[in-house]
Point group: D2
Chain length 374, copies 4
């Protein structure tokens, strides 16, 4: 499938450039009968919106989603759900200065190499603004998952080397409260760490520089056996989904890279049965996924973000003609992309899980017999 | 797509269980006109084959691939290429002991939960033997890539905390020689580190335990601009492909998780032009990918493998009825999956790059004019 | 893929209901570098628009397409092209009368059975208004094809038993002029037949009834060898595309059903070479397709449309509760869907051919060498 | 997807040339828990096999399918089901005479134009032998459909102008018995017509010529609402599937092309409710499909086949160099492809319906609640 399509059964197709008239998404495959209005989407849009705090860019985008199709009387009909987000802040700036320059750490060069043409207004399709459409779609997926008591919650695990307290990282139990995350200006559930992170970000901004961080996602409520095998393993889908977010350079499930230092006897999660003979694991090194399918334990994923490439500090680069140029990115830019990326990570996870939920419905003959019974 | 399908234009569909009659793959979309025989595939199969050294399992599998279709007089015709690998070592063992038990760290439980039925002979579809089909397909992709001087080479970066020398990890120049990798029993290009790793593996085996490690892949020869945007970014595809290999719990591109600790001024790779006005970067923190597309620099990816879950040490678990059981996995098992996984990683990368190469051909109108000229 | 998605490389995703806020399409995969503005789309929209003549419904829809993304300075950038068409005539009517009734010949019943919910305002997603999005996408495909001198032209072959003159049906040479088609109120290139058809339609309207007809499509300029094999044959794709238009009950290629009465010696199209040794066929019973690929001869396809199901005449039916009801469809309805469907057929053919054109680019290794030459 | 792939959830990937080592299919997405052995497939293979009667070619192909994967103890496990059919009659013939000649009515020319290379042994991938893999897959789909009392039955409606009695074409009730079809040498349920057809075929063979015919398919037992909307309508999928069979030049649903001559008041199928308030139609002009979804009435489709292109009569053609050549196809060829194509049509319909059955399972939120109930 072309690059702006995602998902097999809960399928989305996104569009829109940073400074074009609008962005949006078409969701095809959302089951009929789900209550859905713009009110379900707006809170997610707000979490992604810049200008939410002093640590995110001040460019004002109202990001009001409009549902154009697929619902009737506030309920999904099975028809494609199109969601439109108009760009309200696209005044005609003078981009002539950067039109021919390849900004370091940005996709200007690679877009030009691939397509031979480039929409240089604010990065065009390569702008982080593209993720607004992902968030709108992920909010719909979240609404669907809630029907089955499945919930993903993403939060900032670290900004540079400032990391939340270990208790929020317990793999056996989700100790992260959504409210705590949402009230933090950097979306850290740990307010003390959050304050240190804010101070660090202030310092980076003063230095005209930027920093990276790690987003962590917990998913609770999944039944065991969700996901697919071989190439469409749940962890493979999550890894692809998270790595598709601009600035992500690493993705892990469960214990991640530290498994390479462990031993089988330590890393294997043992099974036990509770009093109702339901089967669980005594530990969760695997991050809730085994053989590509959910174990029933909490799913844990992490994504590492590189520092914001747009910095005010002067950098060396070249233009289209190969001439050396110096550039210092003007305007107010986030000293880190992490806070705004938190909801994007959560939404990508929602999309993957929703797709897996639909797909799994047809994995067993007895499931079909439940639906097509006579 | 169902889980055993992969790729858009260079599409593969794999099949086969550990102890069924055969495994194999159908490649649909390989361009016509490529010289191809079994001789191109066998060396790749041999690298994955168990029993290659004392650090891989002794179960004998000849793994001889048979091309069933898609070539004529040693050249691809554009028709699907089916490759069959018969299982030669599938004597009827007594599996009754493990038929009802869920092995820790294995997919027995999740397969049973998803499908309600499980082929327990050697793990069935969840066996690492499944990767034989990936390797056969990846060998064909490698042959295609060689036409364009593109080459992926994978190697063992580390086993537990034993890591190859830094010179092999230079992001600006590939210092890893295929010969050095292939002559190492653990596929490390650094023979000194390789020896230490072997000693460590001997120790783990004596302890009836196992260990993990990291595989690293370098891709050279790519033109800039290869890959797609948004969801099908080259790094997203690589992450999904590598994470789909059993036992992988983390994937990185370029500097990986350490970017979260860096700053924009350090992490951004600056552009410069050479004397021919070709554009390059002065560093390669990004691992050869920017905005989801290749920069022309070497692509660098890593995958972290958990310790082999099959260990001789006694472990706690349960059976289907929820009854507590003790299990010590019999037979000769690898103390680490890493060496055999090296070629699997390389082949998954080949498949992703081949698909991207085909897809990119249609990204520009002027490309089409080159083909459909009058 | 879910039902509103179409195409592999030239991929579209449509949305919108008859009386919702808007319809539209996202095109993902259109090559970069194609000149494209709304002016390329409007003429196609106008051909589909109702109220064009007395033989099409008077409901006024301005159908002005707005390109929301994917172009920059009037040229495609390779990013998804979203096209929006606002519904301007969606005043709140009283639908309570038909909300619970299943109209004969309409999809009311089947939508309700599949989804358990139904947007009854004007048929919702099942309305012919859905085809506006197809036409917008097909206009873009037409612009792409024109780059390669490929052109599809659709026209009304017959309305009921009134058929255009045989000269317009010559399989060896396209004698249909676009101008002649466009100036006819029923889109027949034969003005005499067109007049008879108009008289017949007047009669049907007076009888409060409707009629069917046949649309024929000619495609010229195709190189030989375009299309795919087995399931994605060019004729298979065309048949699926045309049959997906509401009210189509039959599709043919070339001589169609009459081949069942022919003989091999008559039906086989013989090959010959011209003075430049280019190979052609002496006849074109096959409609320009052989083994699923283009022969270089004109492609000929036909689609049979059933009579408009919305008729003023009283009909028997039932409501959701199974109670017998009588219904006579109010409002002004076309006595035939054929004239408005002509451009829809043409656009579906454009979409299929554009997709095949992109796909074929990667069928041969030497094509890739033309693109990735060093 | 590349051309040898078909289906979204019940996905197949076929391979194999006429004179290569083997043909086969990989089915990915068949639900776990279905009883399946080779015995379920063999009867379907036998119906397609040549040499079944004097009206089909004598080339002996045992066509014994071997299930290589995806079942365990005779039950599907959810893993891909690979089915292999070895070519047993591939003695090395001398093909040098036809290696450079383009046979009229065959895909030799178009394959060569697309791929620049051609497996000329018996037509290679373009041989009707390719359909053996479709039949093996369709037999598995049939087994799945039987679980839900859904059955497709295909039969020869006509050979040239010899047509079965009208009673077998009743659209409201399936009067075609499988036994009657199978015992006829031309698979006509009407033995009198069958005898006339046989005599006609004898005559054509004596004339060194061939003839065409029409295959009709009835599907019974479908619930209402099966199928999808817009591009993936059930009739669109059926049309694409049937047109993808070599030699098919026309496809219809229900009344087919005759609807173009009808009126709305005659063509609309009226709804009524039975004593249990289940809703039905009083007629079935629509062939069991309305708006792309099943009405619950019998589904009726037809496919028109052109005469066998391989005829002993001398024909004019050219070779690769453009030199005029005369050709008379040697060997024993069917005077019509229709009888052997009957089971192929049935199997393609089975594949489409099975895919729709799986897809529909996820169309409604309440379906998912039936599966994921707590």
């Amino acid at each position: 499938m072309p690059g702006s399509n995602f998902g097999t059964l809960f399928h989305i197709s996104t569009f829109g450039e940073s400074h074009g008239p609008a962005l949006g998404v078409v969701i095809d495959g959302c089951p009929a009968g789900l209550a859905l209005t713009e009110e379900d989407i707006i809170p997610y849009m707000n979490r992604r919106r810049p200008g939410q705090s002093q640590y995110t860019t001040a460019r004002s985008e109202s990001d009001t989603p409009e549902i154009l199709s697929g619902t009737f009387n506030g309920v999904t009909t099975g028809a494609p759900i199109a969601i439109l987000i108009r760009n309200t802040d696209q005044r005609s700036k003078d981009y002539s200065e950067i039109a021919d320059i390849f900004r370091p750490g940005h996709a200007d060069f690679t877009f030009f190499e691939k397509y031979g043409i480039r929409d240089y207004r604010g990065g065009g399709r390569s702008s982080a603004r593209e993720t607004a459409a992902r968030v709108a779609a992920g909010a719909v997926a979240a609404k669907l998952l809630r029907e089955f008591n499945i919930e993903a919650i993403a939060f900032t695990k670290s900004i540079s080397d400032i990391t939340v307290d270990d208790k929020f990282l317990d793999p056996m139990e989700n100790r992260v409260r959504r409210d705590d995350v949402l009230k933090s200006p950097v979306f850290m559930p740990d307010s003390a760490a959050g304050e240190r992170a804010c101070a660090f970000l202030d310092k980076k901004r003063e230095e005209l520089d930027s920093t990276g961080g790690v987003v962590r996602i917990h998913v609770t409520g999944l039944p065991a056996g969700l996901g697919d095998t071989v190439f469409e393993k749940l962890d493979a889908r999550l890894a692809g989904a998270l790595m598709s977010i601009g600035a992500v350079k690493g993705v892990t499930i469960g214990d991640g890279f530290s498994v390479s230092l462990s031993t089988g006897s330590l890393d294997n999660d043992s099974f036990y049965a509770d009093d109702d003979l339901n089967i669980h694991t005594t530990s969760n090194h695997g991050g809730g996924i085994l053989g590509g399918m959910s174990t029933g334990c909490m799913i844990i994923a992490e994504a590492a973000f590189k520092p914001t490439p747009s910095i005010a500090k002067e950098q060396e680069t070249v233009d289209k003609a190969g001439i050396s140029r110096k550039i210092s990115i003007k305007g107010r830019h986030d000293p880190t992309v992490v806070p705004r990326a938190v909801v994007v990570c959560e939404c990508m996870v929602n999309l993957v899980i929703a797709d897996a939920l639909l797909t799994n419905a047809t994995a067993r003959l007895d499931n079909l017999h439940k639906i097509y019974r006579r």
